[in-house]
Symmetry: C2
Subunit: 325 residues, 2 copies
């Protein structure tokens, strides 16, 4: 039986996912709560940590040795428990380790918080939490971090697309796809004619993707209106409209990514990449990517806990191989 | 003194603007209310009409002749007072007249409601109210409607850009710029770091426009995130962020329009066009258009009442010249 070796926290804006990891990095237990940093009262971090991880700490107490704790995500932001200032691109795992900031809980436990990554420039970019997932993917598949570079997508509220090479995050883009979808659906006229469908409507979704790909030159602000007009003209049912709009937005994200790649004499077509995220959303992105000619975009499993485990190992919090076997 | 000749209603989603026009088409009185069609209770049209125009009708009653009433806008939609089905592009003023639908009020007054315009196609487009404003602009400046064609922009919640030629609306685009701005500001993370500025911050606005123009290839979903990251990195104050985001969105609208024009071997640069809308917003668009090389975009005054007056004349509701002098 593997003994607990590390508590690893993925502590974001809307949720807290806690992993009790064994010495081999495999999760022995997992707890999820809605104690994201935006849902906590002032000073609520300590209590949320106790509520989520206290039972693990209690069970481990007789073993005398402190169970190390590592965290990543918005918990290290200016609105978080304690600020772990961003490290700048190009950023390797060593830079993340060097940027770890600690906070001591009421119980006396030291929580190690990994920093996020900042890309300076005319249009700066930031990530918190995704960098740890990216290193989780790289540790699990070292070839990804080679000199030829790789592209990793992290769909979500704020989707990230990161270019990694030489085991470093070289640069990345943020697309506010998920949050914009929710805002348009819930707070514009587009939502008024929609009914949520019982199931994902794949043809409606792909129609939206194709619209963005083939007729998206006027931009998102123009194409989204077709959600309404295709409904008005009887070409899109109320149940199809949410998936169509989702397809339009994800389609514009991929169209934009393709434009970025075009300036590097590259393209999504025929490219190999990796996705990190929940299965349903990654599946949706894979279907959309296929419309852009990209047919090799598997989801990386366990990227979050693997990344936290490896950062903890590099930081000397646990005795473990710092490189994948 | 000019006698009242026509009640003209611009009845939209959120407001009702009523004009009492003299026989020369000039407004003798104007009343504005928040009785837009979305703000009315079921069956509330008759009461809203009475509340707004009753005083004019009462004053006119001793003159015996019925004061004709014409309306345009969402009042003719499926959610309106009575539906005036869309007429299709290319649409001239004669088609609008042929599509007028009437409703009789409790008082016995006949309200003539002009239809909107529909452009069929893979991405259909619709307008209601703007077509009347466009014909108001054409009647006032007949050269605009010539065979060489003109481009007319109507900034707003759902901005329209219409190509007109031979006195007909040939085709048009809708950009959900205003409504998307409100949804992003009020219902995404971008609003959390914003403070409304006391005055319009022109440099911040133009910075947003330039960002969309010069770095917008990744698309709107990517560029809007810079509102947040420029704040995080101390390059954009909380007060500057609303105008910056507004600039990004209007910049993407014009970038998209420029892409549409490029496919016609044309461009905004050096082009002459017309704007219809409120002065502050048109001024903002003129500043943005200048960043795309377009320096000739005056606002057409009185397009709404002029359009309603001329449609009424063409329909024989009033005795008036149907062509501008």
């Amino acid at each position: 039986m593997t003994l607990p070796a590390l508590i690893a926290l993925d502590w974001g804006t809307t949720s807290l996912r806690a992993y009790l990891l064994g010495s081999d990095g495999v999760a022995l237990d997992t707890r999820t709560s809605s104690a994201g940093i935006m849902n906590l009262p002032a000073g609520g971090f300590d209590q949320a940590f106790e509520d989520t991880c206290g039972v693990w700490l209690d069970a481990h107490a007789p073993l005398r040795a402190q169970l190390p704790v590592i965290a990543a995500g918005m918990v290290g932001s200016a609105q978080g428990w304690i600020e772990a200032p961003y490290v700048e691109t190009p950023a390797g795992a060593d830079a993340l380790v060097a940027g770890i900031v600690t906070v001591k809980t009421a119980r006396g436990v030291i929580v190690h918080i990994a920093p996020g990554v900042l890309e300076q420039g005319a249009l700066p970019n930031v990530m918190r939490g995704e960098e740890t997932q990216i290193f989780g993917a790289l540790f699990g598949e070292p070839a990804l971090g080679g000199t030829s570079g790789a592209l990793i997508g992290l769909p979500g509220t704020h989707a990230k697309w990161a270019f990694v090479a030489d085991e470093r995050i070289e640069r990345f883009y943020t697309f506010m796809t998920g949050e914009t979808f929710s805002a348009l659906r819930d707070h514009t006229i587009l939502g008024r004619t929609m009914h949520p469908g019982a199931t994902h409507d794949e043809p409606a979704f792909l129609r939206g993707v194709d619209t963005a790909r083939d007729a998206g030159q006027a931009g998102l602000l123009a194409t989204i209106f077709s959600t309404r007009t295709l409904g008005l003209t009887g070409q899109l049912s109320a149940e199809q409209q949410p998936d169509y709009l989702s397809g339009i937005l994800i389609g514009h994200e991929l169209r934009g990514l393709n434009e970025v790649l075009a300036r590097q004499q590259s393209s999504l077509a025929g490219r190999t990449l990796r996705l990190i995220g929940n299965d349903a959303l990654c599946k949706r992105y894979r279907a959309a990517l296929a419309r852009f000619g990209c047919h090799d975009a598997p989801t990386v499993a366990h990227a979050t806990e693997r990344g936290l485990y490896r950062i903890a190992a590099l930081a000397g919090l646990i005795a473990a191989p710092v490189r994948a076997a």
